[in-house]
Symmetry: C2
Subunit: 256 residues, 2 copies
């Protein structure tokens, strides 16, 4: 490395991703102006998806003109981990950091929300720290934390556990295990699901959780139609709700 490295900026994206046909919230409703200005300056990016990054930069350009034409902005995609390839050696990510080592600021962005949180990118951040590149996360929306705040459940102790098993028996066992941990630790449990399985996950939660466990579902938080419903499991059972199969949702529960 010659000279001072650039900074790796973790740039938040909107929460629109995967919400087809919905009215997207205006960019200025979800991202601070300072973040848009920083994004407009960056000419080197590492992205979960180059296409959605270009689409975002076009929306940024309409509010804060990009410092360089979009065609000249370099966008390199993160390597996708093969599913179930946990034993495979992790990819060498240092080449992706070359612009920062050469002194340029570098952006890291995922398809929705904050990069490296419930999303790829953490390995690149780790590589940046190891290479002495300053890392700076920029504020923006996180579906997880918006859902937690809107749930009314315990925000002083919580765990995000990712996806639950798809197979019914394993999923039921996992739900009971998480409910026991929630009761023991007073800890809110947060999870996400592929939208077309929203109804299946809700059904499994209502079948497995105790009646006095509180369950909150936040759906499509980024859109005008977004909502949070938070009630006891018994309340959900008395007043059933259908969840949209094409909108991302965050599920949270807290045992009594």
């Amino acid at each position: 490395m010659s000279g001072t490295p650039g900074t790796l900026y973790l740039v938040p994206n909107t929460l629109d991703f995967g919400i087809e046909g919905a009215q997207a919230a205006p960019l200025s409703d979800v991202l601070p102006l300072g973040v848009l200005q920083r994004a407009a300056q960056l000419q080197h990016w590492v992205a979960e998806n180059a296409k959605t990054t270009r689409a975002l930069l076009k929306r940024v350009d309409a509010l804060v003109p990009l410092a360089a034409p979009l065609q000249q902005v370099s966008i390199v995609e993160l390597p996708r981990p093969a599913k179930g390839a946990k034993a495979a050696p992790p990819a060498d990510l240092r080449p992706l950091l070359a612009p920062a080592l050469a002194g340029h600021d570098l952006g890291l962005i995922s398809e929705a929300g904050l990069p490296a949180v419930a999303d790829p990118g953490a390995a690149l951040v780790q590589a940046a720290h190891a290479a002495g590149i300053p890392v700076r996360a920029l504020p923006g929306p996180s579906a997880l934390l918006l859902a937690l705040a809107a749930s009314g459940l315990n925000g002083q102790s919580f765990a995000f556990v990712g996806y639950l098993p798809v197979e019914a028996g394993a999923r039921a066992a996992r739900i009971r295990e998480l409910e026991a941990a929630s009761r023991r630790l007073g800890q809110t449990q947060l999870m996400i699901e592929t939208p077309y399985r929203n109804a299946a996950l809700l059904g499994a939660l209502l079948a497995q959780l105790k009646g006095d466990t509180r369950l909150s579902v936040s759906c499509a938080l980024a859109t005008p139609e977004g909502f949070t419903r938070s009630d006891s499991v018994e309340g959900w059972q008395r007043r059933p709700a259908a969840l949209p199969a094409d909108r991302p949702a965050v599920f949270a529960f807290l045992a009594a």
Copy 2:
């Protein structure tokens, strides 16, 4: 309740709180314009602290004129739970929701970051759900999630555990317990500390954690001097760092 209730908006605050003498980041760097516009419209608030809420609304007013003079904006403080009074009956929060039940939108705000996340407010949100008041969380900065993203640790599975015990023996035992959970679950553990105890917590973590556990400290993320350092415990021991005693920090670790 007569007619349609208003909405309870969970309004994010800046992360400046408790950072005396530091250069505050401009409001537009941390809060989306849409959030400032919503805050400027709200004439009924429930706040962790009325004084800091008024200070924020003055800063909002300089960017987006308030819909009503600040003197006419109603700000009611959340009841403060007495320390160690876990057995005390929770306060009846429904009177605080009266404006929403009368059809007015109501804002909930804490001293920093998102209300009801690592901050008071969850009980009011729960009361709103019980009363049929729609709840909407607005996007903004969260020191916890910014620290997690910048740590490069596992963002697919993490727990926020709040404060650790102050007493040395209990704190050491808690750190070892959390490290065991981190190893077993592959789960990043996030915690916070009162700033003047930053150095003591760092010392305890370095004394208790295994050398190959990765430890990240994010300090004063909202200010230009903010930084994240992420390294193995062994690396921290080889290259010690002094943490400021007057800046809030988020600590995160992940066992190997």
